[in-house]
C-alpha cells in the first residue's frame, strides 16, 4: 500500500564538512546552523557545489583546453548519529502473547554515512551519501544530488544561474529548508511509531525514484525548476532472471512512465532578513503491484494517481548573536485510487490527504538553540487504505482516518560547528484518526509520544 511506504521513510538531512574543506570557509558561510542553508549556501548549491578554493591537479591539451581539474583531496565527509529513544508507552509484544516490549531503544549507530560532497569537475558537483542504518542493518544509497551548473551574466549585470540535477528524492535538490527532504525535523527517531499516512512527495518515494530536472535562478531571486522522476528501486531483483530489474508485478509502487515535478520560488532579502515563498509539486502514477506468484499483479493497465501540490515559505533572520527562522509547508494530495479500488485495497476511488508543518527555530550564538514545530495530516476516511484493527494494533486506525497531529519541541547544543546534541520531544494529539483508542486496541495517541536524544557528528 502506498501510504505504508511512509513508515519506512526516516527523515534524514545533512550538511557536510567536506564543503568547508573545499571552499576554505566556515560552516556559517553557508548555514545558519547545519543543515539549514542561508542565502550563500543556497547559491552554492544552485551553482552545483562547485566553488572550490583548493589547489587543483590539472590536465590540459596542447591547445590549453582543460581536460581535468581535480582538487588535491577528494571532498569526503563522514557522519555518525547515535541516539536513544523512549516511547511514552511500550509497544505490545511482537509474539502476540500478552507482554510488553522494551520502551527504550539505543541506536548505535542510528546512522553512519560517508559523503562525497563537492566539485567533481568544473561546473559539475555532487552531494552523494552512502548510509548504514541500524533499522535496515545494511548499507545503501541515501540522498544523492549530482549537478551540472553554470551562470550567465546579462548586460544589466543581473545573473542567471542554470543547471541540471540528477537526484533520488523529490525535493532533495531544493534550495530552501521548507521542503520535505531537507526540512525539519533534520533528524528523527527510527524507533518510534510512524503515522499511517504520508503524501508521496513527503519522503515516501525517497531513494526509490531517480529524476532529472532543469532549473534556473534569476538574479538570486526567482527560481524555477521542471523535471521528471522514474522508478529506481533499490534491492529489487527480477524474480525470473534473478538479476536487477526490469521491475515486475512483485514490486509495489512502481511509477508508470515518468512523474513530472515542478518548483517555483521567489526569495527576497533585506537587511538581516530573507523571505521565500514558493510552490512545488509532482504527479505520481503508481502501479500498486506487490503481487505474488499466486496473485500476480500487472505493471500495466490500471494505476493509482497521486497529484501533490504544495505551498511553502521560509523566513530567516540572521545576526551574529541571534538566528531565527520560520518555515512552513502545506502539501495537498489528490489520490485517484482506481487500481487499488478495483483490487479491493481501498474503500474509495478518490481520497485526499493534506499535511501541514510549521517550524520555528532559534539559535543563540549558533550554540544553544531550539525548535518548536507543529504538524498535522488530515484526509479522507478510508477503512481499507488505512487498515481497520488487526491485532496487535498500533499501526492501525480504528476509524479509517489518517488524521495525525502534534508538536515537536527540540533543544540543541552545538559545542562545535560540526557537532550537535539534541533532545527532541514529540507529542501526538491525534494519531491515525483519534486521540484515544486510535488503533482499536486501546492505545492512545499520546502513547506514541517519544523522547529522543541524539548525538550527531559530522566530520
Amino acid at each position: 500500500m502506498a501510504a505504508l511506504a511512509a513508515l519506512l521513510a526516516t527523515p534524514m538531512a545533512h550538511a557536510v564538512p567536506s564543503f568547508a574543506r573545499q571552499t576554505g570557509m566556515t560552516c556559517e558561510a553557508c548555514h545558519t546552523v547545519y543543515p539549514e542553508l542561508n542565502h550563500f549556501g543556497r547559491m552554492f548549491k544552485a551553482n552545483g557545489y562547485t566553488l572550490d578554493n583548493l589547489k587543483q591537479v590539472r590536465g590540459i591539451t596542447a591547445k590549453k583546453d582543460e581536460m581535468l581539474s581535480l582538487a588535491d583531496l577528494p571532498p569526503l565527509s563522514a557522519m555518525i548519529q547515535v541516539s536513544y529513544t523512549q516511547l511514552a508507552k511500550p509497544l505490545p509484544d511482537g509474539t502476540g502473547a500478552p507482554g510488553h516490549s522494551q520502551s527504550g531503544t539505543v541506536d548505535f549507530p542510528q546512522q553512519f554515512s560517508i559523503f562525497y560532497a563537492g566539485k567533481i569537475a568544473p561546473h559539475v558537483g555532487a552531494f552523494l551519501q552512502i548510509t548504514y542504518g541500524n533499522d535496515s542493518g545494511t548499507i545503501g544509497i541515501d540522498n544523492t544530488d549530482i549537478r551540472y551548473a553554470n551562470n550567465f551574466i546579462f548586460e544589466n549585470d543581473k545573473s542567471l544561474v542554470y543547471g541540471l540535477t540528477i537526484n533520488n528524492n523529490p525535493t532533495v535538490q531544493d534550495l530552501w529548508n521548507s521542503t520535505p527532504a531537507f526540512g525539519f525535523p533534520y533528524a528523527g527517531t527510527n524507533a518510534g511509531v510512524s503515522p499511517i499516512a504520508g503524501t508521496q512527495i513527503d519522503g515516501t518515494l525517497a531513494q526509490d525514484v531517480a529524476g532529472i530536472s532543469a532549473y534556473a535562478m534569476w538574479n538570486e531571486q526567482l527560481y524555477a525548476e521542471l523535471g521528471v522522476y522514474r522508478s529506481a528501486k533499490q534491492g529489487a531483483v527480477n524474480p525470473v532472471s534473478g538479476a536487477a530489474g526490469p521491475l515486475d508485478g512483485t514490486t509495489s509502487n512502481v511509477l508508470r512512465s515518468s512523474a513530472p515535478y515542478f518548483r517555483l520560488a521567489y526569495e527576497y532579502n533585506w537587511g538581516r532578513n530573507s523571505l521565500e515563498v514558493g510552490t512545488y509539486g509532482a504527479t505520481f502514477k503508481l502501479y500498486p503491484g506487490g503481487g505474488t506468484t499466486t496473485a500476480p499483479a500487472l505493471l500495466s493497465g490500471p494505476f493509482n494517481e497521486f497529484r501533490d501540490v504544495a505551498e511553502d515559505f521560509q523566513y530567516q533572520f540572521i545576526a551574529d548573536e541571534h538566528v531565527f527562522s520560520l518555515t512552513g509547508t502545506r502539501i495537498h494530495e489528490n489520490m485517484n485510487l482506481d487500481a487499488s479500488y478495483a483490487a479491493g485495497a481501498s474503500a474509495n476511488s478518490r481520497d485526499t490527504l493534506t499535511t501541514t508543518r510549521v517550524n520555528a527555530n532559534y539559535y543563540y550564538q549558533r550554540k544553544y538553540g531550539g525548535t518548536l514545530a507543529h504538524f498535522a495530516t488530515t484526509g479522507s476516511i478510508d477503512n481499507v487504505l488505512y487498515p481497520a484493527p488487526v491485532a496487535p494494533g498500533v499501526v492501525t486506525s480504528a476509524n479509517g482516518s489518517p488524521e495525525t497531529t502534534g508538536w515537536v519541541g527540540e533543544l540543541n547544543y552545538v559545542p562545535w560547528l560540526n557537532m550537535k546534541l539534541s533532545l527532541q520531544y514529540t507529542h501526538f494529539g491525534k494519531f491515525n484518526g483519534a486521540s484515544t483508542n486510535y488503533d482499536g486496541f486501546n492505545r492512545n495517541a499520546s502513547a506514541n509520544d517519544t523522547t529522543y536524544l541524539l548525538f550527531w557528528l559530522v566530520y
Binding site: 576554505g24 570557509m25 566556515t26 542565502h39 550563500f40 551574466i153 532579502n269 538581516r272 540572521i318
Partner: protein
C-alpha cells in the same frame, strides 16, 4: 613623541609607498573575467554591484581599488586575521590570482557608492564630532585626517561612508585586539570605548557619497 603617534606616522608612510594599480592597464579579458566572478560569486554575499544587504558583509561599491586589492592579498596571504576574514575570505581569496584581484578591485571601485541606513539619533552628533575632531585628550585622532572629511577615503585609506555600522564596529574591535593587525588603526582604536565605536560607526553608515 608617543609610541602611538609614531606608529601612526609609520603606517601613513607605508600607505603612501603602496604602488597604485593603474586600472586603465587592464585588458578586456581580465575585466570580463573579474565581472563574471564578481556577479557570479562575490555578489552572493557582497550584494549586487557590491551593495551588500546583510551587514555581516562589507559594502564594496565605490571602495578604492588599491585598498581592495591590498585586502584581497592580505586574505590570500592569511595576514588579515579577524574572525570573519578567516572564516570567509581566506577561502574565497585563496585561488584569486594577481590579475583577477586587480580586475575585481577595479570592478568594485567603479560601482557607485550609496548612503547606508540612517539610524542612531543622538549618537550621530557624537559620532560626527569624534570623526571630524577625534578626542585628543584620550588619544583618539580625528578620523577625517586620513579617511577624508566626508569619509570618502582615498587610495589606501578605505572609504567608510555608507559602510554597515555592524561591520565598522567589528573592524574597530579587531584593530583594537590586533586580530586585524594594522599598526595605524591599532593606534587609533586602542583608546576607543564601545559607545564611541558605535557612535562613529552609525554616523559613517549614514553618510552618502558626497557628505
Amino acid at each position: 613623541m608617543s609610541q602611538r603617534h609614531l606608529s601612526i606616522l609609520l603606517g601613513l608612510a607605508a600607505s603612501v609607498l603602496l604602488v597604485s594599480a593603474h586600472a586603465d592597464d587592464l585588458d578586456a579579458a581580465t575585466r570580463a573575467a573579474a565581472r563574471k566572478v564578481a556577479i557570479g560569486t562575490c555578489e552572493n554575499c557582497h550584494g549586487p554591484e557590491g551593495h551588500s544587504i546583510l551587514p555581516k558583509y562589507p559594502v564594496l561599491a565605490g571602495q578604492h581599488a588599491n585598498y581592495l586589492a591590498a585586502q584581497m592579498h592580505a586574505f590570500k596571504a592569511q595576514t588579515r586575521g579577524d574572525p570573519d576574514a578567516l572564516g570567509y575570505m581566506w577561502g574565497m581569496a585563496a585561488t584569486l590570482d594577481d590579475d583577477l584581484i586587480t580586475g575585481l578591485a577595479d570592478y568594485y571601485s567603479r560601482q557607485k557608492p550609496e548612503a547606508g541606513k540612517l539610524v542612531g539619533g543622538p549618537a550621530l552628533a557624537h559620532g560626527k564630532d569624534l570623526y571630524l575632531n577625534g578626542d585628543p585628550a584620550n588619544g583618539i585622532p580625528a578620523c577625517a585626517t586620513c579617511h577624508g572629511p566626508g569619509a570618502e577615503g582615498s587610495d589606501a585609506f578605505p572609504r567608510l561612508a555608507g559602510q554597515h555600522s555592524q561591520y565598522l564596529i567589528k573592524q574597530l574591535k579587531s584593530f583594537q585586539s590586533n586580530l586585524r593587525n594594522v599598526a595605524v588603526m591599532h593606534g587609533v582604536a586602542q583608546g576607543m570605548k564601545s559607545e564611541e565605536m558605535e557612535a562613529v560607526a552609525l554616523y559613517l553608515q549614514s553618510l552618502g557619497p558626497k557628505a
